[in-house]
């Protein structure tokens, strides 16, 4: 396979803050297109000063709705994350895998109806 294409998050979203869903979607759109073309992709978080799960759900979590775990593992890399942010990303990824594996029951789980108040 060819050399990895680097996506610099701060360049693409124009900010060191990875906090909004819209910016996460921007990253997702670029990465999804490249992965579909079979490219290797490295997402660089260099110079990012703040990162939250909401952003990562959009940017990376969503990929598991389009690609298999194998594809993501083979074609995608991340760099420039501190160890605690890597942990955050791991939580997001595990959550996304579970979500797409069993979407309907995940949403409906255990919710009780309560007709008698409010």
């Amino acid at each position: 396979m060819s050399e990895s294409i680097k996506i610099k998050v701060t360049d693409l979203i124009g900010s060191p803050l990875c906090i909004s869903a819209e910016d996460g979607q921007k990253i997702f759109d670029k990465v999804e297109k490249l992965l579909k073309e079979g490219k290797l992709v490295t997402i660089s978080f260099e110079n990012v000063t703040m990162l939250i799960s909401l952003f990562l759900n959009m940017a990376i979590g969503q990929l598991y709705g389009s690609f298999s775990e194998d594809t993501v593992r083979t074609q995608l890399k991340v760099e420039g994350l501190s160890s605690d942010d890597r942990e955050l990303l791991k939580r997001v990824v595990d959550n996304a895998k579970k979500y797409y594996a069993n979407k309907a029951s995940y949403d409906d789980a255990w919710l009780e109806e309560d007709e008698n108040e409010e």
Partner: protein, 289 residues
């Protein structure tokens, strides 16, 4: 219309009192509403945010809201945290710099909220916390803020303020909106008629989100709970009739007497915490994906 307020602390009773104002003024339009503070001998500064959720709705219905008979000690607190500037009263200098002032943000103002935290978390009265704690605290506040921006549908904005209590080594930060509430979000999404407490508990479970579209989500509140547990802090989530509280001793959700018109999250942290907040050893790319 004159309404009396009692003492307001950041607890079930305080939220009930604030929600009762909303109930008593439910259909009020183009009225004059006076909030009489003469029975209020103490007002916990961070409760300015949820109080403004009620006031914002009243102002949106073109009511003229005023504040009267405030005791000087309460007035000092609420001028220092700049809450009273929304009633055109001058701010009072916070020489100790233990306050993160009351501020109204638009839903799209995530970056401005981050700037606000940059500025006021550096106040000389705010203790120097470990780097890991500072980062996790700010991450948590941004998760709450952005959650409110996505889910609240509160055209009136997001109301925030915070207060450091040096003797207790506790820092409280409160983010409140005047939106549709967690119950309505969960009802729309699940198409089931759940009550407020069950809706809050549903939203707290890992992976649950009412975000439209088919993206995974619902980690923000779970991460918040994990953080609070580790930090031995406290989390309060109030929305409609639900009052949820979580701390080291466990959690509970009580039904309030009156419905809070929106959602309010109060995060209280223990500022002496030196945990690393990094649980496992270094993860590499293969471990992540």
């Amino acid at each position: 219309m004159e309404l009396n307020l009692g003492t307001i602390r950041s607890d079930l009773s305080g939220f009930n009192t604030i929600s009762n104002i909303a109930k008593q003024t439910k259909d009020s339009f183009l009225n004059s509403i006076e909030l009489n503070f003469s029975y209020c001998s103490f007002f916990e500064a961070n409760m300015a945010a949820p109080l403004y959720s009620v006031i914002a709705r009243l102002r949106d219905e073109l009511n003229d809201v005023s504040i009267n008979n405030m005791q000087s000690s309460v007035e000092t607190i609420l001028r220092k945290n700049r809450f009273l500037t929304v009633f055109n009263q001058p701010k009072l200098s916070d020489y100790n710099q233990t306050t993160l002032p009351f501020k109204i943000f638009k839903l799209t103002a995530g970056e401005q909220f981050n700037d606000y935290l940059n500025r006021y978390m550096k106040g000389k009265g705010i203790p120097t916390m470990s780097k890991a704690l500072t980062k996790r605290f700010r991450q948590s506040l941004l998760e709450i803020f952005l959650n409110a921006a996505i889910h609240s549908e509160s055209g009136l904005g997001i109301f925030v303020c915070g207060q450091f209590y040096p003797q207790k080594h506790r820092l409280d930060f409160t983010i409140s909106d005047a939106g549709i509430g967690i119950r309505e979000n969960v009802r729309r999404y699940t198409r089931r008629k759940v009550n407020s407490c069950n809706a809050i508990k549903w939203a707290l479970a890992e992976g649950h989100t009412t975000k439209s579209g088919s993206q995974p989500g619902g980690l923000g509140l779970k991460l918040l709970k994990d953080f609070v547990q580790r930090n031995k802090g406290k989390l309060q989530i109030v929305s409609n009739f639900g009052y949820y509280e979580f701390d080291a001793d466990g959690d509970f959700c009580d039904k309030m007497d009156y419905s809070f018109p929106g959602t309010c999250v109060n995060l209280e942290i223990n500022t002496t915490d030196t945990s690393s907040y990094c649980l496992s050893s270094e993860l590499n790319g293969n471990d992540i994906f």
